[in-house]
Amino acid sequence: MLSVPASLSAFESLALQSIIAVSFALTGLSVLMAVFIVIKRAWRQRQAGRREKRRREITSFLHHLLSAEDIPFAGGEMPFEKKDMPLVFDAALSVIRGIKGSDAVRVVSRLNGWGMEAYAHGILSAPSRAEKIRALAYLSRCSDEKSIEDILAASASDDRYVQLAALRALAERQAVEHLGLMLSRMEAGRQRNTLILTEVLTRFGEGAVPDLLHQAQFGSVLEMRIAAINALGAIGSPDAVDTLIALAGALETHAEITAKSLQALSRLGDRRAEGVIIRNLSSTEKGIRVQAARAAGALALSEALPQLAALLEDDDWWVRFRAGEALARLGRPGQAVLEARSRDRPQKDEAPIARLVLKEKGL
């Protein structure tokens, strides 16, 4: 106990002593933590060399397996020790990522013979999200029903990332018959990552179009509807055109749905969309006008020339710019409009967009 000077009240001296004692205690604790992390690091460093050597051996073995005519160790005996399984799993994942077709079937079948699928099933129930995602990535390359069941079970997870990994695994398996169920589960999970969803949904290909059309029209989560529309555009099925036209033309639709439908239609390049694109050039939403102008340019809709010319005076710079770009894509008539407008007097301190577009495009 520290001696307390008489000039301090008991409370004051207690407060000061507490500050000193707590400071010493915290410092002591942090020194212990420092000692612990140093010992742990030193131990890990010792292990790391061995682990790295073993990792290299395993990866090299798997690559050999990939290139071998006949399968080594065909008897099924596992050429690894059980403690190597995490390393083998890591290496297996990186190897199978880069292969497809019969090579993939051959390698995965051999790996499964050594218990890799069972290992993946095991880590799927691990609490770590990253482990679950890795397990799903592996199971996506298997071909049995049990792994499909596990993937579907994972899709019921309340974790958005695990759900996405499950969807990706299904896409890899081309198990399109389960897509409707997956989408309804993902709606419940409030999936919002439109771009990743789009990327994964696109992988299902043409077979997914009916489910995607349903999702685009009747989905309850805006972001998922957008992803479905984007995927329809990317898949490029003509079956999607009528629905996309209806979505782009519906007055009560959310502005983003209209804009994305126009974007998808421009990717599909179907002239049936001409009317809805031209109508949307005069939308009150700038995001819709931008997409309509891009679509008019992509489809080279010469019928849209008057509306595009009018958009060169739009309040929004992006609308003016996209309209200018679209006119540049309409060939000589569009360029003539741009040339005429490029002689306009600048608004405020800006050069006319027509002049800028002509210069940028080198016209």
């Binding site: 520290l2 307390v4 000077p5 000039s7 301090l8 001296s13 000061l16 002593q17 500050i19 000193i20 400071s23 010493f24 915290l26 410092t27 604790l29 942090s30 020194v31 933590m33 420092a34 612990f36 992390i37 140093v38 690091r41 030193a42 460093q45 990522r97 770590s128 999200r129 990253a130 995602i133 890795r134 799903l136 990535a137 958005r160 990332y161 996405l164 990994a165 990706r168 919002r192 990552n193 439109t194 771009l195 990743i196 789009t198 990327e199 994964v200 972001e223 710079w317 992006w318 710019f321 200018g324 301190d349 800006e350 967009i353 800028l356 577009v357 210069k359 940028e360």
Partner: protein, 491 residues
């Protein structure tokens, strides 16, 4: 108490009159010091929990898949450069090699007086071009735009000097074509996957995410080849070494905790990703402050809160940007003074948000935090360094005050640094080996015995500059990154 003073009448009278005030001042200093330590004690576990959540949720599969797809948000990388001839080419090369499906680089030569522009033109075979652009945010006039046939995603803007980084960044925003933009200092190198990781929060929360900050780490001592950090190593000299630890403390603990609580008030101008539409709505970077990064985030908070729009500003620990830290006392002092001045400019500009419930947790938590750490903190600490020993020498306070204050300043400082380091080690293991870890531990102790105090004196100098309304950025000399060959030759 010195005996020659104790015997004098005037001194006895003085002490009778003012000793009480000295004790009160000492308690005030101790109370604010204890408050700062308490804030750290709350922040440390919050930062650890946040980092743990992040480390356990690594979605490497998605990252890999995104890389080979086009399902990412396209992004404009803005590289403001003023007299950066030592690093600019390597920096642009590094950006060109980033792993990201769709991005453009806009390097802005802000009226450099050296060969920054010439070196860019030579290295990337640039030719003059025209580029349509918006005038959504203000900046000094552009002299010429350059592009390269060989690097279609590289644009170089040559503009008149705008008296600050904000002006150059605004030009980059105007000429950018993508929905996101990322600001990177010309003396910085991004890790190859940094953009994929940094953009992910925008993809996860497409409607709400307004800005994301990543981690800045010190590149002094690392080997750089082809614009990439190829071997991580600690700096050889004390000043960059101590900054390595400071950055761990500032980014890993403070920003991670603030991000967890939704009260992050700064995204570093050295590496931050922003939504272009929101940044232009608030007028881009302010040109009247040297704390333009802090200011932009405050403007976003103000704008979104006033408009009652849902939004988020987040810090993610692992898109990493490597930067060259000042390695001389003069340049470090200049940097710290500028940071302090910038913080004060932004805090006074946004003073109405302090404890203002209209701004939600930003007004009630974020602003008070910045006020304590950036406004009051350095003043009180420097006052403490001077007054507590002085009061003790004069006999106005007894030795326990001095001991308590020393314990708060030094022991608690060591505690905060060591625990920050432990969190970094447990979750990210960024120190390259045991020896490096031991060096950082040694620095965690020694930095509290002089460096931190010196830093606070520099911050007071920043206060002085702020009071005198100094506006310029000051000079910063670049030495360039070291390649393996440079390191071997010891140059």
């Amino acid at each position: 108490m010195p005996e020659f003073l104790a015997d004098t009448v005037w001194f006895r009278e003085f002490m009778t009159e003012y000793a009480g005030i000295a004790v009160m001042v000492s308690w005030g200093i101790l109370a604010i010091g204890a408050m700062q330590v308490t804030v750290y004690l709350i922040q440390l576990p919050a930062a650890w929990l946040e980092l743990r959540k992040y480390a356990q949720t690594g979605d490497t599969e998605s990252e890999w898949q995104l890389l080979i797809s086009d399902a990412v948000l396209p992004i404009t990388l803005i590289l403001p450069a003023y007299n950066e001839e030592a690093v600019i080419v390597e920096s642009v090369r590094s950006m060109l090699g980033l792993e990201y499906p769709q991005f453009e680089i806009i390097a802005v030569n802000d009226g450099s007086k050296d060969r920054t522009l010439e070196l860019l033109i030579e290295a990337f075979d640039l030719t003059p071009v025209e580029r349509a652009h918006d005038l959504s945010v203000p900046h000094a006039p552009v002299r010429q735009i350059y592009a390269s046939e060989f690097y279609p995603n590289l644009v170089v803007i040559d503009k008149e000097n705008g008296k600050g980084k904000a002006d150059a960044m605004n030009a980059g925003i105007d000429y950018g074509r993508y929905p996101l933009f990322c600001v990177v200092d010309a003396d910085s190198l991004l890790e190859s996957g940094a953009l994929l990781r940094g953009v992910r929060p925008f993809m996860d929360e497409p409607q709400e995410m307004a800005a994301v900050g990543g981690t800045i780490r010190i590149a002094n001592g690392c080997e750089v080849t082809g614009g990439r950090v190829t071997r991580v190593a600690l700096p050889d000299t004390f000043l960059p070494l101590v900054q390595t630890l400071e950055y761990i403390r500032a980014f890993l603990v403070a920003r991670l905790a603030l991000s967890r609580w939704g009260v992050l008030t700064i995204v570093s101008g050295a590496f931050g990703i922003f939504r272009r539409d929101i940044a232009t709505e608030v007028g881009g970077f302010s040109r009247d402050t040297v704390g333009e990064d802090f200011d932009l985030i405050m403007k976003i908070h103000r704008h979104m809160r006033q408009a009652k729009r849902p939004y988020q500003v987040r810090y993610v620990p692992e898109p990493v940007c490597w930067t060259e830290a000042p390695d001389t006392r003069k340049s470090l002092r200049g940097q710290r003074k500028r940071w302090q001045r910038g913080a004060l400019e932004v805090l006074t500009k946004n003073g109405d948000m302090l404890f203002n419930p209209r701004y939600g947790r930003i007004g009630m938590l974020g602003m008070p935090y910045s006020f304590i750490t950036d406004f009051v903190g350095p003043l009180v600490q420097v006052l403490g360094y001077i007054l507590i020993p002085l009061f003790f020498l004069l006999g106005a306070i007894n030795w326990m005050f001095l001991a308590a204050y020393t314990a708060l300043v030094i022991l608690c400082g060591i505690f905060v640094s060591l625990v920050s380091l432990a969190i970094d080690e447990v979750e990210l293991r960024r120190a390259e080996d045991t020896k490096a870890l031991l060096r950082l531990i040694a620095v965690a102790v020694t930095e509290n015995l002089g460096y931190r105090q010196l830093n606070n004196f520099w911050r007071i100098a920043g206060w002085w500059e702020f009071a005198r309304k100094r506006q310029d950025w000051g000079e910063m000399t670049r030495t360039g990154f070291k390649s393996a060959a440079d390191k071997q030759s010891g140059s």
